[in-house]
Symmetry: C2
Subunit: 165 residues, 2 copies
């Protein structure tokens, strides 16, 4: 390589270090179709620098509680071939906006009512939307728990269950 031309590609170790994601996880992401790489003559992975951005997006999204499969779908909106522009990224991010809004709303409600609600009998839920994961968001909310659809924690109001005092 001529001087001044630094390698614009990353090895898996470099990508791991810079993204803070373990090589094993990166291989796993690749296997799952979230990122891709080209191979050297000796079968080693080389990543475009842009992949750093992809990995960052993946971690942020995971943090949001979105499963990898869904993140993969979102990433598939990015152009292949061409390096994504800020506009491309904005379009992808837009996907989470609704989730994000709903989730913030839900958590805010929860914060403002949780303590009182549990004690008072409201958290026997039903109308109290707090614990109510019937909306799509809550179901996909935090994490790998694909609460298997169906009204989890619904209809629990119990007139006979009034706390003492």
């Amino acid at each position: 390589m001529t001087p001044g031309t630094i390698s614009r590609e990353l090895t898996i170790g470099q990508l791991a270090e810079r993204s803070g994601v373990a090589p094993s996880a990166l291989r796993f992401y690749e296997e799952s179709g979230l990122i891709d790489s080209r191979r050297t003559g000796g079968n080693q992975r080389r990543y475009r620098r842009e992949t750093l951005r992809r990995v960052a997006f993946i971690r942020v999204s995971q943090n949001l509680g979105i499963p990898l499969a869904e993140i993969r779908d979102a990433l598939s909106l990015l152009p292949n071939g061409r390096t994504p522009t800020p506009e491309d990224w904005a379009a992808v991010s837009e996907r989470w906006r609704g989730d994000l809004d709903a989730r913030i709303h839900q958590l805010t409600q929860l914060r403002d009512h949780l303590s009182g609600c549990i004690g008072c009998g409201c958290l026997s839920l039903r109308d109290c939307a707090l614990a109510n994961p019937d909306d799509a968001l809550a179901a996909k909310g935090p994490g790998a728990r694909r609460l298997t659809g169906e009204g989890a924690a619904g209809r629990a109001r119990d007139p006979e269950d009034e706390p003492p005092k």
Copy 2:
């Protein structure tokens, strides 16, 4: 049973129906020390009605992304023997307050900056706190993913990775 004296206890089926949580899950919670029951002569479970409230709390907390082990710890603050008062519940709920506040803050930041941030290079993170799960909350944030400590998604800023256009 004398008429007028309705059974104040619930079978597992009744608890399941009213809480929206499957019997298998309730047995699992019991095994994990989150709820308890007395047994009939024939070895069947009978739950105090108060358990409904406990289960509701469990689901709400899970929804927050808190693992069962931690929920168990929180629930252990409730008095044993005596039926919890609203004040008891408030104390338990107080435990999540910090998490809740931090999480809301994080998601709000994310919402307000996500699109721009990813495209602009900021989401190569480091200073941009958005994807940064170094704080305790994010780690325990969504779900069963105990991101194994260590700065996941840190130091990824790359001056050489400027998007085109």
